[in-house]
Amino acid sequence: MDVKNPIANPLIVLREEFDDWAILFDPDTGNAFGLNPTGVFIWKLLDGKHDADAIVSRLREEADDVPEDAAEHARQFIAALEAQGLVGYEIEQERRTGNGDRG
C-alpha cells in the first residue's frame, strides 16, 4: 500500500474565532480542540497535496523565525490530530496479483 499525504477529516468543522485562533469541532462527539494560528495554517494545508515538509516550507514563506525543527513539530502535531480522528490518509490499494488474497 502507498500511504499518501495527510487529509483533514471533512466532517470536522474549523471555527475561526478570535485573533486567528480557532477550534476544531467534531460534530459526532461534540469534542472541540483549540488551535493556535500556526495550527490553523497547518490544518488548512491538510488537503492531501502536502506532507509535513511541504507545509513547513509554505510556513517559512509566510512567517519569520520558523524554528529549524518545525517539520518535526508539524509531524507530531499531525500525528496528534490523527490520533483524535481529525486527520486521515488516502490509501491507494496495491494492485494484487496471484493468490495472495486467498492465503
Binding site: L11, V13, R15, E16, E17, F18, F25, P27, G30
Partner: protein
Amino acid sequence: MKLMRTPKKIDIDITNRCNLRCRYCYHYESAGDAGGDLPAEEWLQFFGELNRCAVTEVTLAGGEPFIREDLEAIVGGIVKNRMRFAILSNGTLITDEMAAFLASTKRCNYVQISIDGSMPESHDAMRGRGSFARAVEGLLTLRRNGVRAAVRVTIHRKNVHDLEGITRFLLEDIGLGSFGTNSAGAMGLCRKNAEIVQLTTEDRVLAMETLLRLSKKYNGRIQAMAGPLAEARHWLEMEEARLEGRPQMPNGGSLTGCGCYKSSLSVRADGAITPCTMLSHIELGRINRDDLGGLWREHTTLNALRRRDEIPLSGFSFCEGCPYVNYCTGNCPGLSYTLTGEVNHPSPDACLRKFLAEGGRLPDRALLC
C-alpha cells in the same frame, strides 16, 4: 470589542404551531408569534449557510417542534451540515420512532421537556388536562431510546408549593441526574395571565428558600440560569458584596446581562433573523436572503446591542441611590423591553432593591451549596 467571525449557535423557532396553549408561554402573543411555518426546503438551504459559517449547534424550539411532520428531514439537514442540535419540547408528541431516529443521528445534545409538577394537578393547571401524563411519557420514551433528556421546571403560582414533590419525582422516581428551573416571565401569554401565573413576592421568597434547600440536599442537582434559584444565588452574592463594601462585582455596574448575541442568533418561524428569542421584535434580516456572516459582523443594531454593556446603570433614574448598583447586571434585555418598552434599560423584574422594597427577603446564606 472582540467578536467571533460567525455565530456559534442558532436558536430556531422551527414552527409557530403548538398542540398546547400553556398559560405562561413566552412565545404566543409575543413578537416571536409570527405567521406560518416555512417549508423544510427553506430550512435545509439555510443549514447549508450555517455549515459554511461553521456554526456548530442549532436549537429547535417553537411552538412545538415535534408537531412538524417533516422534522426528520429537518434534523437530517442539520446532521448533513456538520452540526449538533437540541430540541425544546412540551414532550407530549414524542413517539418511539422519533426518539429512535434522534438517537440514531448521534448528534442530539439533548431534548428538553417541560415538566412543572409531581402530579397532574400542578402541571396541568397551566398546560392543559392530560399534558402531565403525556409529557412524562415523552420523557420516558426519550430515555428508553437512549436520547439525553433534560427537564425544565417552570415555577408559577400553582406549583410553587409542589417544589419538594417535583424534585423527589424527577430525581428519585424518574432518576434524572439533574433538572433546570426557571419561573414564568412577563412575556407572551404570561403577561396576559400574570395574575394567575406569576409568582408574588411571597411566592418568590418561598421558591428561593425551597430551591436552595433542595439544591443543597441533592448536591447541586438543581440548576438555574434564571428564575428564583438563580436570583437567590446572585442576590445573596450581591448582598454579601454590599455588606463587605466591595467596590464592584464581575460584570456589575452596567447592562451586561446577558449578552447572548455575542455568540448566537435566533430565527423566527417566518425566517426573520433576530438577536435572541427574547428580542424577537428586532428583525435583523431574513434567512436565505441576507448574508448571515455579514449581518453578524456588520449589522448596526446588533453591534449597538453588543455595546449595551458599556451603558452604566448609574445613569438610570431607576437605579438612582441603589446600594447594589455596582453588583447588578441589569439582567435580560428582552424582559426589560417587555416591561419598560426599552431594550437599553435594567429589567425591573430582576431588581433586588425593588424585591426587598416590596417585602421580599433573602434566604439564609447557609442554604447555599
